[in-house]
């Protein structure tokens, strides 16, 4: 620890070249690396999605073999969940938390470096399996991102072991990141900043970090069981040896459902920062936001079996998981109404971050409503494993989580770079993205209700029109993100200088710092009243 403290006395010391990034212990550099990593993965995962949509443009087999299609859906899901949304949120946490709580850096800077640099290894391994598959050296993981046993154990391709180690590495990375976040928030808050004075983004990340610490080890456990089932003769999920494949689903979703909230709670924090800024009002119902976040986190542990209503649960179990799932709508509703109340009678302006935040509120709520439809156990037997589910989780993850990340990037980019982004291009990006996302995902509701199964490369003729509409939306959506990339690069390279406050209605300690923010955020802690 002392060594780290000593280094930090030299405030202008900045290693140069590749070493600056490889050995970085600076929260801003590491945050940037996380964000660029997520951005890269976003394009890779997106390219896989476009291949999927190209294949589904018409019924029948066009472009890829069914076996490869399965690998596409699997890798798309894994990359988007573990390689895009989660690292992007960690990147935002790295950039913002120290600035928001008035600290010079994260509490554990060297661990921070390690938790980032595990990720390229993890995804290198995962993507290597895809490259090998393309080269004809055996299949990449092909069992869906949920890797249900026995698809991933008895029938898993050889590359499953790469996948397992890759998940282990991602898990270690996430857990270290979470420990760092908790230590930072507990120890480095500026004098006077009590817990209930922390910005909402800090609160949501605080709770998310606890969720990560609670469930990433369970994920590590389940892949370890897979590993020993596959290679060391155990029978956790093999009925022949006294195991139970249904148990895989229980253990997986015990991780998987809190994971869903890991991917949305920081989004709530982002939207709760942006909406007040552009409404020029303080956030409505701050403490209810904190309690709502905490109750969502708690409820996330007791709803997991709603992912598996059709495995043959008794009625009592289905009722329990149905009602507990419905309960989540209450704290989530509190949040949505708080955002609307914040905007109510505010002096609203519609810069790009605000546009994304409003689109988030509207579209995420739609995804929430389809979630309510899905949680009704008897109805779920019709919806289960159809495109309706695909529509639901893309509404909450793309127009929810991913939109919040885009909003956050537009919102804080001037603070990070010292330059304003191109507002015109930003708005163009917003409108293209929002419209195409709906063209892409909305028709999936209809084909899903009509019975089109997910993860299938071919489909019945009557689904053709809606699938064509969705595929057109997908390509517009995908290529619109190149505008985003261009806007970000342009802003990093230069542009109109941003003021320290950046936005007229900006609140929070990060906007008291100069733009661009200094290498070490708050070297002397500010006084919070």
């Amino acid at each position: 620890m002392n060594a780290v403290v000593e280094e930090h006395h030299d405030h202008d010391h900045k290693p140069t070249g590749i070493g600056r990034w490889l050995f970085s212990t600076n929260h801003k550099d590491i945050g940037s690396m996380y964000l660029w990593f997520a951005f890269t993965m976003f394009f890779i995962g997106g390219a896989l999605a476009l291949l999927i949509r190209a294949e589904l443009f018409q019924p029948g087999m066009q472009i890829v073999e069914p076996e490869f299609f399965n690998q596409l859906t699997t890798l798309h899901g894994l990359i988007m969940v573990f390689g895009v949304i989660m690292p992007a949120f960690v990147g935002l946490a790295n950039w913002q938390l120290p600035m928001m709580i008035g600290a010079p850096d994260m509490a554990l800077p060297r661990m921070n470096n390690w938790s980032f640099w595990l990720l390229p290894g993890a995804f290198g391994m995962l993507l290597a399996s895809l490259v090998m598959s393309i080269m004809g050296l055996g299949s990449a993981p092909n069992f869906g991102w949920t890797f249900y046993a026995p698809l991933s154990t008895t029938y898993g391709p050889d590359s499953t072991d790469y996948f397992i180690f890759s998940v282990h590495l991602m898990g270690i990375s996430s857990v270290m990141g979470a420990i760092n976040v908790i230590a930072t928030i507990m120890n480095l808050r500026a004098p006077g900043m009590t817990y209930m004075k922390m910005p909402i983004f800090v609160w949501t990340w605080f709770i998310t970090a606890y969720l990560l610490i609670a469930v990433m080890p369970v994920l590590a456990g389940v892949v370890t069981m897979m590993l020993t089932d596959r290679n060391f003769g155990t029978s956790f999920f093999d009925a022949a040896g006294g195991g139970d494949p249904v148990m895989f689903q229980h253990v997986f979703w015990f991780f998987g459902h809190p994971e869903v909230y890991i991917m949305i709670l920081p989004a709530f924090g982002i939207v709760s920062s942006i909406v007040p800024t552009f409404s020029r009002k303080p956030l409505f119902g701050y403490s209810s936001m904190v309690y709502a976040t905490a109750s969502i986190a708690f409820l996330s542990f007791i709803v997991w079996a709603h992912h598996m209503f059709t495995v043959g649960m008794p009625v009592a179990g289905e009722l329990f998981f149905m009602y507990s799932t419905m309960l989540i709508a209450i704290p989530t509703g509190v949040k949505v109404f708080n955002w609307i109340s914040t905007m109510w009678r505010g002096a609203l302006t519609f810069e790009t971050p605000m546009l994304f935040a409003i689109a988030f509120i509207f579209l995420f709520t739609m995804g929430g409503f389809t979630g309510l439809m899905l949680c009704i156990a008897p109805a779920d037997f019709q919806y289960h494993d159809t495109y309706f589910v695909v529509a639901h989780f893309h509404y909450v993850l793309v127009t929810g989580a991913a939109f919040s990340i885009m909003a956050a990037v537009y919102f804080w980019l001037p603070k990070w770079t010292g330059n304003m982004y191109d507002e015109k291009l930003g708005k163009l990006h917003f409108w293209l993205t929002t419209i195409s996302a709906n063209v892409l995902f909305f028709p999936m509701h209809f084909v899903g209700l009509a019975g089109m199964p997910r993860r299938i490369p071919d489909y019945a003729l009557q689904f053709a029109e809606f699938n064509q509409i969705a595929s057109v939306g997908a390509f517009v959506f995908g290529f619109s993100q190149l505008i985003f990339l261009y806007v970000v690069i342009k802003c990093v390279r230069g542009g109109e200088k941003a003021t320290d406050k950046v936005w007229e209605g900006a609140q929070g300690l990060e906007f008291d710092l100069p733009s661009p923010a200094p290498f070490h955020s708050y070297t002397t802690p500010p006084e919070v009243k």
Binding site: N187, I213, V215, P217, V218, G221, S235, D244, F254, G312
Partner: protein, 198 residues
């Protein structure tokens, strides 16, 4: 940094230590879920799990006013080179009445194979009321190449069974035992396996 330290409630190593304990505990909890689910299913009879208990109860009063139709199903795991079927497809019994029926299994491969039968009762709510006093699923079954064996099951349907249930299906799936790769004489493994195979 030193100014920050004044505001620290706990020092970093302590926080890391505590959180790491949580991480290790949750990793263990993932594994603990395995026996927990088993215990939960045994207590509640969920998942149709019935097979682990040998019932020694003397038969309670036979309820002659009710007739329960018990259907017998047989299936084989794909890697199992046996033929396996019940001798009769169903039987009608009074609750409380001990009944014996038989399955026939034949090894159609050219080597000796040990199999485990995994039973399941449907509907799941009936599982707790379906008692087997004798069953080939309690032990491993070894069939030599071409050998055929009649495998009896004796069961009692508990008269406490809910009035809503008039039909019960009893299904067995035969799996190749993992022991085929092991030394069959290894008694500790056999004992352990019988405990685990339900």
């Amino acid at each position: 940094m030193s100014v920050q330290a004044d505001n620290q409630t706990t020092d970093n190593p302590k926080i890391i230590g505590k959180l790491l304990i949580v991480v290790v505990a949750m990793f263990g909890f993932g594994f603990a879920l395995v026996p927990l689910y088993d215990v939960f299913c045994d207590i509640t009879g969920l998942n149709g799990k019935t097979g682990d208990k040998v019932s020694f109860e003397t038969a309670p009063i036979v309820d002659e006013s009710r007739l329960i139709k018990v259907t017998f199903l047989a299936s084989l795991n794909e890697s199992m080179p046996w033929e396996f079927k019940p001798q009769q497809s169903f039987i009608e019994v009074h609750p409380g009445e001990p009944t014996t029926i038989s399955y026939i299994a034949r090894n159609i491969s050219n080597k000796s194979i040990v199999g485990n039968a995994v039973p399941s009762v449907s509907p799941g709510l009936a599982a707790a009321y379906f008692q087997k006093t004798e069953c080939f699923c309690f032990t491993q079954q070894e069939l030599k190449a071409g050998e055929e064996k009649i495998m009896p099951v004796t069961f009692i349907v508990d008269s406490e069974l809910s009035d809503d249930i008039n039909e019960i299906a009893l299904s067995y799936t035969f799996f190749t035992s993992k022991q085929n790769n092991e030394d069959l004489a290894d008694n500790t493994l056999t004992a352990k396996s019988i405990n685990t195979f339900k």
